[in-house]
């Protein structure tokens, strides 16, 4: 018996959320009745590493379905987010902040704001207890301070992504990085290496300047209380620690949290909103064809 067959209630749906990012594809399979009884059956992240996203998306979805024990034809809705417009087999699309908000709240019902930090962007979103987006701020066009930037730097430092966080926590004298441009910052960092600054101090310096930006985003949305870091950089414990340090230093009333599934927040949110739409559409007696936009 597959998971899809376990529940026959019309309100009980199985949906998939696919978050097509610029660095990674995230997929979540969610099952629930739309009334708070929701579980994530499976979550999968596959880093793109400059591969063509479409096949990776297929692959990630298959992997997630397998993990969840669900057949593809049992899905009631396939929702995409991020750059998910490229996914032709989607049922509908939701925008990133809408989905991260929903996913974040699913992971931790106490939070009232999220900071989503992905490969190319960072955004702070203020929400209410139903994941309604009350306000948001994004970093401007310039990509400095995003995950991609950190990734490039770490490649030059010969540090794998997983090591960034732990190394940064070893810093004793973080070296501030002043450049606003990611490309120029790269050179700054090379200068630092030549000056003999240790890798932990370099990383921590970058973390602090990035965290400073996120902190400003957060405070300008007027966020207070519990805040969830979502997106790929939530995995970076050094960055999260830096953010907490700044919060403390500034005496802000913010409680910065993460969740092991933070990186999946967008995918989870998409899956949940997909369920929401599917129920609405079912109620309205509408069928939906794949490819139709939300």
């Amino acid at each position: 018996m597959t998971a899809g067959e376990r529940q026959q209630s019309p309100e009980f749906l199985t949906t998939a959320g696919i978050d097509v990012g610029s660095a990674a594809i995230k997929v979540a399979i969610v099952q629930g009745d739309g009334n708070g009884d929701e579980t994530m059956l499976a979550g999968v992240t596959q880093r793109l590493r400059r591969r063509d996203p479409l096949p990776v998306t297929e692959d990630a979805l298959e992997e997630a379905l397998e993990k969840a024990g669900v057949r593809r034809d049992e899905l009631d809705y396939i929702a995409t987010t991020g750059e998910g417009e490229i996914v032709t087999f989607r049922t509908g699309h939701f925008y990133g902040m809408t989905t991260h908000a929903r996913g974040g709240l699913f992971l931790d019902p106490e939070i009232r704001a999220i900071v989503d930090i992905g490969a190319l962007h960072a955004r702070a979103v203020l929400i209410d207890d139903r994941a309604k987006v009350l306000g948001y701020r994004m970093t401007s066009q310039c990509a400095s301070g995003s995950g991609q930037f950190l990734e490039n730097i770490s490649r030059y430092l010969g540090v794998t992504i997983a090591e960034i966080g732990p190394l940064s926590k070893d810093a004793d004298e973080p070296e501030k990085c002043s450049s606003i441009c990611a490309v120029l910052a790269e050179t700054d960092v090379i200068n630092m290496v030549s000056r003999g600054i240790s890798i932990p101090n370099i990383l921590k310096g970058i973390h602090l300047s990035m965290a400073g930006r996120y902190f400003r985003l957060l405070t300008s949305t007027k966020a207070e209380g519990a805040v969830m870091v979502t997106g790929g950089l939530a995995m970076d414990i050094g960055l999260v620690a830096a953010l907490r340090e700044i919060v403390e230093e500034q005496g802000a009333n913010l409680d910065v949290r993460t969740h092991p599934d933070s990186v999946l927040a967008g995918a989870i949110g998409a899956a949940l909103w997909g369920g929401f739409r599917a129920r609405k559409l079912k109620k309205a007696g509408l069928s939906f064809s794949s490819g139709s936009d939300s």
Partner: protein
């Protein structure tokens, strides 16, 4: 001209053709239509920068007012960047580019209204670059007392009327100005009617069409433009295939000078927004209502400026009422939210924004903000933002 005539003949057949015609006029950087108008009418052409100049005055002296709204996203900037640092908005560099590549040769002069420091300084650059042309900085008053600001402004306008005959314009004549005022009253009314129709039925008038039509008004003689607008209005009113969709109604503000690329407007519409009011091509809407034709026409122009111009970041607004006009517009147009959409590095728009945001927030209106430049080609970030904004209005509106 031949070609334009033939398209305008077929334009009666539908809005698509009208929009295509308007777009062709807008995108013709070499201003063929203006050159031809000059040949036919024996008149002169005077360019003007945003935001506002009294076009009536020019038209009355047989000078075709030609709006210079930058080069948009089609123009390749080769020399323009040599004149401007990266932290200055985009419009002056494309304007210089157009000037240097000969596109604006058919203009006998250019007016630079007091919009901001960038346009102000551009007037001096133009003087140095084109010493043979009429180049005037038009200092519009920030004092709205008729005896002070009014007197000064009247004098500024008089100087313009006096300078035109020297470059081939007709000499100033009160009756001609009265006629011109009437012509522009009709133009303003036609624009106002379209905005009103879009307010009521935004699905009938997609903003990416309206915008193109407004831009055609930068080069067309006013009567022709009015005809075009009226024809479009009829065509879309009759088009029953344009049905409402589940979109959020938003108002755009901040784009009064450097104009957004068409792609940006389309992106917003695709991300789920109906734009129900905006400040694009603002010269068309700067003066609200008709300007009286009777009496002293020059005085009427001055009074209209002092008393009936709209609230704008480039006008000094007394403490206390800042942003009030915006909130009223939101109400009048039934917008569900405000998109602050300003050009990068635009001091007037961006410095104004926090004050406007405050007014909007105090009124409980949702808003979001982003920046663009006239040649932006990437809209993902904006799409995300506008999409989320529309998502949240759609998912949660009506509570």
């Amino acid at each position: 001209m031949e070609e334009r005539m033939s398209t305008s003949a077929s334009c009666l057949e539908g809005h698509a053709a009208l929009v295509a015609e308007a777009e062709a006029l807008w995108k013709d950087y070499s201003l063929t239509s203006v050159r031809e108008w000059k040949k036919e009418s024996g008149g002169i052409a005077i360019g003007y920068m945003p935001v506002y100049v009294p076009r009536e005055l020019l038209w009355a002296q047989n000078a075709l007012p030609v709006g210079i709204l930058g080069g948009g996203d089609d123009l390749e900037i080769i020399r323009g960047d040599a004149y401007y640092q990266s932290y200055i908005c985009h419009i002056p560099r494309s304007t210089i580019e157009l000037g240097l590549n000969g596109s604006l040769d058919c203009l006998d002069g250019v007016l630079f209204p007091a919009t901001c420091d960038v346009i102000r300084n551009l007037s001096g650059m133009w003087k140095m670059q084109f010493p043979d042309k009429l180049v005037r900085y038009l200092d519009v008053p920030q004092d709205f007392d008729p005896a002070m600001g009014g007197a000064f402004y009247r004098h500024e306008l008089q100087e313009i009327t006096e300078s035109l005959p020297g470059i081939g314009g007709r000499s100033y004549d009160e009756d001609a100005l009265r006629t011109a005022i009437q012509v522009y009253n009709e133009s303003r009314q036609a624009v106002a009617d379209l905005y009103d129709l879009r307010r009521r039925e935004p699905w009938k008038i997609p903003t990416h069409e309206l915008y193109v039509l407004l831009r055609a008004g930068m080069v067309l003689p006013p009567e022709e433009h009015t005809t075009m607008l009226r024809a479009y209005e009829t065509a879309v009113s009759d088009d029953e295939s344009r049905r409402p969709m589940d979109q959020a109604r938003v108002l755009i503000t901040g784009s009064f000078c450097e104009q957004p690329p068409l792609g940006l407007i389309k992106t917003l519409e695709r991300a789920g927004c109906y734009i129900v009011d905006d400040d694009f091509v603002q010269v068309h809407r700067w003066i609200v209502g008709d300007i009286p034709v009777d009496g002293d026409p020059l005085g009427n122009l001055v009074t209209a400026y002092l008393e009936n111009s709209i609230e704008s970041p480039i006008r000094y607004i007394d403490d206390g009422v800042k942003g009030q006009g915006l909130v009223e517009r939101v109400e009048h147009y039934g917008a569900e939210g405000v998109l602050f959409c300003a050009p990068s590095f635009c001091d007037p728009a961006l410095l104004d924004q926090p004050m406007a945001v405050k007014a909007v927030e105090d009124a409980g209106i949702p808003w979001t903000a982003f920046k663009y430049s006239e040649n932006s080609g990437q809209f993902q970030v904006i799409r995300e933002q506008a999409g989320t904004f529309a998502d949240s209005i759609k998912l949660w509106s009506g509570e």
